[in-house]
């Protein structure tokens, strides 16, 4: 057709027509062009939280282990054994007067020995007085509470050491059997003998023998140290079940999203879909959740544990449009069944299935109270069996054709959980739990779940605890 003035006038009149779009259009565009960046950011933060929890737990475990090792090492190093050898006045007076004296002072490995050598007689004589000082410490932090046990022995007589004192020094009773003195021993031999078998054998002549060292009963702190070292390290499997109620923020429907953005259409094969305008403001809806699965608990120290598991969770909650007249779009598993329900503010049920791997660290705040606090994260795969979205009343409504490729939706997410467990190792565990579970469901749409639940866990193998 020959173009004339009509077409020219129309073109000049319409080509520069400008209309201001609504602000949500840009928000929707922005959400769709940067969903990957946002997902990456969310993933980064959740990984950071996960690493923090795992790293913190490992650090705690390491610290506890090191403390125990240090305490044991400290105790070992501070068990002092001192042996003092002096020449008996009655036996080597002469040699002490007439002979040339050579003194040797030995102080090694907490053992002090003295030997007096008389060159004139060509003999080595001594009076052996052995004392064993034991510092029993719990922990480097508890230096002030260290107890000293002093065991003293003399070659000449039997004696009883003083009764335990109140000033922090306690003496243990030792028995010394006097042997004939013709000592030709060295300090080191005394030391070795004392260390090895609590017997002092002065050289070949057996001048000094400590038959036995009776030690005082261990102090309460020493008992505590021993208990710390001897916690049951064995891992225990539990079966767990929990039921909870929560509220879910259907904010995922709260801004303009196209059908493509919410996962309806296959990219590239279908038309640009309609915009789903959400209820506004965000509507909180109630739902139920139930979970069942297995838990593995490994004690890290006497008062810390690590737990991992595999749980199945079932979530069902209602959703409703914020405005009467919004249209609900029901998505089902069957790809061909997608239909619309005209709505005037009704409620619809959403169903999600969830497989999660809960990872948690637990600690016992009070030693004598069998209550454990658990903090953890639960990475999960969520599969939506049934989802209802809402179409704004003014968008003209989506068509069934546009949703033929719909399938079950799935998403990866991580929840944060804090719970209280009542019950000890190898016992039935019971306690409430609080969970926050954010999801970036249907690509760039978000939902926030807050849930309170009550759970119980039963050990698979019951073991009697030692009294």
């Amino acid at each position: 057709m020959q173009e004339n003035n009509f077409e020219k006038n129309v073109r000049s009149s319409l080509q520069d027509l400008q209309l201001e779009p609504a602000p949500p259009v840009w928000e929707a565009v922005e959400a769709r062009i940067r969903p990957q960046q946002r997902r990456r950011r969310v993933l980064f933060w959740w990984l950071a939280v996960l690493l923090l929890v795992v790293g913190g737990g490992l650090w705690w475990h390491q610290t506890e282990t090191n403390n125990l090792k240090n305490a044991a090492q400290f105790k070992k190093e501070n068990t002092k054994q001192t042996v003092t050898h002096k020449a008996p006045a009655t036996h080597n007076n002469q040699s002490a007067v007439n002979g040339t004296k050579q003194s040797e002072q030995t102080n090694s490995n907490n053992v002090t020995g003295q030997r007096i050598v008389s060159e004139k007689n060509n003999t080595v004589t001594f009076k052996a007085t052995a004392s064993v000082n034991k510092n029993v410490g719990l922990h480097p932090k508890h230096n002030k509470q260290q107890k000293h046990i002093t065991e003293t022995a003399s070659v000449h007589k039997k004696y009883a050491v003083p009764a335990p004192g109140t000033n922090g020094n306690e003496s243990a009773q030792s028995t010394v059997v006097e042997n004939p003195i013709s000592s030709t021993a060295t300090a080191s031999s005394v030391q070795n003998n004392l260390t090895d078998s609590n017997k002092i054998t002065a050289g070949a002549d057996k001048s000094v023998t400590i038959d036995s060292v009776t030690q005082q009963a261990p102090t309460p702190d020493a008992v505590a140290t021993k208990q710390k070292k001897s916690f049951d390290k064995k891992a225990v499997w539990y079966v767990q079940a929990a039921i909870g109620a929560g509220t879910i923020n259907t904010g995922l429907f709260n801004s303009n999203k196209s059908a493509d953005a919410v996962g309806f259409a296959s990219p590239g094969t279908l038309a640009p879909p309609p915009v789903y305008t959400s209820p506004q403001p965000p509507v909180y809806n109630w739902g139920l959740a139930a979970s069942v699965g297995a838990l593995w608990q490994k004690p890290l120290s006497a008062r810390t544990k690590f737990s991992a598991g595999l749980l199945y969770r079932y979530n069902a909650f209602t959703v409703r449009p914020g405005r009467a007249g919004d249209t609900a779009v029901v998505m089902r598993s069957n790809a061909t069944i997608n239909y619309l329900i005209s709505s005037s503010g009704g409620r619809y049920r959403n169903v999600y299935h969830q497989a999660e791997v809960p990872l948690a660290f637990g600690y016992q705040p009070l030693r004598k109270v069998n209550v454990w606090l658990w903090h953890g994260v639960s990475p999960a795969v969520v599969v939506a069996q049934r989802t209802v979205l809402f179409d704004a009343q003014n968008s003209g409504g989506p068509t069934a054709d546009a949703h033929k490729t719909n399938r079950w939706q799935w998403v990866l997410h991580t929840s944060v959980q804090t719970s209280v467990g009542i019950g000890g190792v190898n016992r039935l565990l019971l306690g409430p739990s609080v969970r926050y579970q954010p999801s970036s469901f249907f690509r760039n749409q978000r939902q926030h779940l807050f849930e309170i639940s009550l759970g119980a866990a039963m050990p698979l193998s019951h073991k009697k605890q030692k009294p």
């Binding site: 009509f6 027509l17 201001e20 609504a22 003014n394 968008s395 003209g396």
Partner: protein
Amino acid sequence: MNPQQLVSGCLNGNAHAQRELYNQFAPLMMGVCYRYTKSVADAEDVLQEGFVKVFKNLHQYRGEGELGAWIRRVMVYTAINYLKQHIRYNTTMHFDATDLHVVSDDDPQLALEGKALADLIRQLPAGYQTIFNLYAVEGYSHAEIGKIMGIKEVTSRSQYARARALLINWLQEDAQTKTHYAGK
């Protein structure tokens, strides 16, 4: 920012550049989308989808020609795709090549401009509306329209003729009504 800086900024994922590009071209493109659809909501759907395509395919813009013209072309194709896929538009877009109409040779003066004229065009059946927009406003030939719409060239001609005749008729009626009321 000039268009070249905008494009490079958007390609680098610069959020400010993306927003700037949108702000610069959205009103004009909303006008395009408005002409092809029947409601503001549909126009905004098309605008949203079109800008998503623009940002995702901006690397294909070689800098040959104006950026605005390239974006407009994306919007037009997005709008046509949208119309094809939606039943409420689809039902009025079936073309019958035998359904020929007399070509109007009238050349009236336009009494309407801008949005008022666009509103009149939007009252045409969807098929007429699309072909009228493509031919009269965008300047595509009937051969090109035939390829875009998947119809024969002759069908495009006949549909355009009917659309043009209808529109002129409405314009004349409108002018007469105005004259009538002005006389009273």
